[in-house]
Symmetry: C2
Subunit: 283 residues, 2 copies
């Protein structure tokens, strides 16, 4: 096994009858160390489990959902491995900028083409290619049974990665996702910086644009809090609803009354999302 596929165990802790681990590896995609967490439920030694990858939102790393996401009870119940990567490369030698919505902690799951970001900010390839291979090499997973979900910027990541890779994920869901970054301030700033001014290049990183450009999946599950402070300006789930209606994609979009953008919202609906994925993974 080459050095590029080795992982370092930072911690492994028993929880909900399984093992919650935190690991680090030298990513050849980002050219930096990358940290991620994996929950492996209790299972028979020879058994391979399905995998649910969770992509986090702005400012987060692996630890936020790992500590506050309340996913372990459901993943233990259904026998699903839960993978939580970081949201960007990090470190002293990595480009950064003022503001929580660009640079470290704000990778937007793109392969950046503009300097200085293009050197390390390759989160699309990291999540689509390098991380799944690393997980398959080190954990008891069945790579044929994968699903993906995410929150906010991570919901954008889950939707766009899922739409760009039809057939690869059994199911795709999002909590309070950014559905059309090309049409909102967070996306203007991030996609402009990472990809430059040519808006055609943004379309591969915009769920609504991907659907307009004929990317297809069978169904999507999205929950959105009605009291989310970013709802009207940054998230705009109605744009996804319209795009799915036109494209014939079965979107289950629920506006959850009174919920905000925080982990108090995420943890409330996490078990329902895990159960929804489980119904599609355990077949």
């Amino acid at each position: 096994m080459g050095r590029e596929s080795m992982i370092e165990t930072l911690s492994e802790t028993k929880s909900h009858s399984g093992i919650q681990g935190v690991y680090r590896h030298e990513s050849k995609t980002t050219g930096t160390p990358m940290t991620f967490s994996v929950f492996v439920p209790d299972h028979r030694p020879t058994h391979k489990l399905p995998v649910l990858t969770y992509l986090s939102g702005l400012t987060c790393d692996h630890s936020n959902v790992t500590e506050k996401g309340e996913f372990r009870a459901a993943c233990a119940q259904y026998g699903i491995v839960f993978v939580a990567p970081d949201t960007s490369p990090r470190g002293a030698g990595v480009a950064d900028a003022e503001g929580y919505d660009i640079g470290q902690g704000a990778g937007f799951y793109v392969d950046a083409t503009e300097p200085p970001w293009s050197q390390h900010f390759r989160m699309r390839s990291y999540i689509e290619d390098e991380l799944p291979a690393l997980i398959a090499a080190h954990f008891p997973v069945d790579g044929a049974r994968q699903s993906i979900m995410g929150h906010s910027m991570g919901g954008h990541g889950a939707l766009t990665i899922g739409l760009r890779n039809p057939g690869r994920y059994r199911s795709i869901s999002a909590l309070a996702p950014i559905v059309a970054p090309s049409q909102v301030p967070w996306g203007h700033k991030a996609l402009g910086a990472y990809l430059g001014d040519d808006r055609d290049a943004w379309r591969a990183y915009d769920a609504v644009a991907l659907i307009e450009d004929r990317a297809r999946v069978d169904e999507l599950l999205v929950d959105q809090g009605s009291a989310d402070q970013f709802l009207d300006e940054q998230l705009r789930p109605g744009l996804l609803r319209e795009a799915c209606e036109r494209a014939g994609i079965a979107l289950t979009l629920t506006l959850q009354e009174g919920y905000d953008h925080s982990y108090y919202f995420i943890s409330t609906f996490m078990a329902e999302h895990v159960a929804w994925h489980a119904a599609r993974l355990n077949v």
Copy 2:
């Protein structure tokens, strides 16, 4: 309502169909501002709910269990209000000391008699008297249906407060509690500092000594991880088992294989503890 019984709302967030709040008040017991969290499940407007108070361990404040404890799903299911106070008075004018195991964040649920601690460190009276009255004045609770639990130093708090107030709590449980502070290093340091060298004064703050001195409850529930790094030196659950056997107290003590002292352990067994309390509160 006097100023001493007013509370300030720091945040109220919808979660698991209820409201997770964080509040602050001027405590007349400690002479400081005190912060605490309360989860109120969804309920009929005129309905009064039972209360479960959770006491946290060394270094914690209200936020640790509030974010990582995974209690809300179970409390919502059973209709139980969950109260999480701080572990000590805090602030620039409050005594403190080097070390995580004494001073701010380490009140040990005692009324200190020794200077400089005696001025503010009155967590026994705060938890036994002031906080329950404050909760009753501001939240939809049925004060006749109370239970108490805690972790580590907070498990010590739950056990000693429960044992000193027979009949007041419908049920008492602990996760990895300090059961005999008089016999372990953490307790020697804290009780010696807060109460002085007269070990007779320590006995009111030692669950095993209270049972030896004829404090009685019907039953106790304790879970303890077998991989807890503090098990043999600081926690010593066997001392509680022996004391309960001699006293005829029905202790359900389970050594949970492979679990450590962290919130990964707490969150695993939280729902079972809430369900156990619910069976005793909802009657």
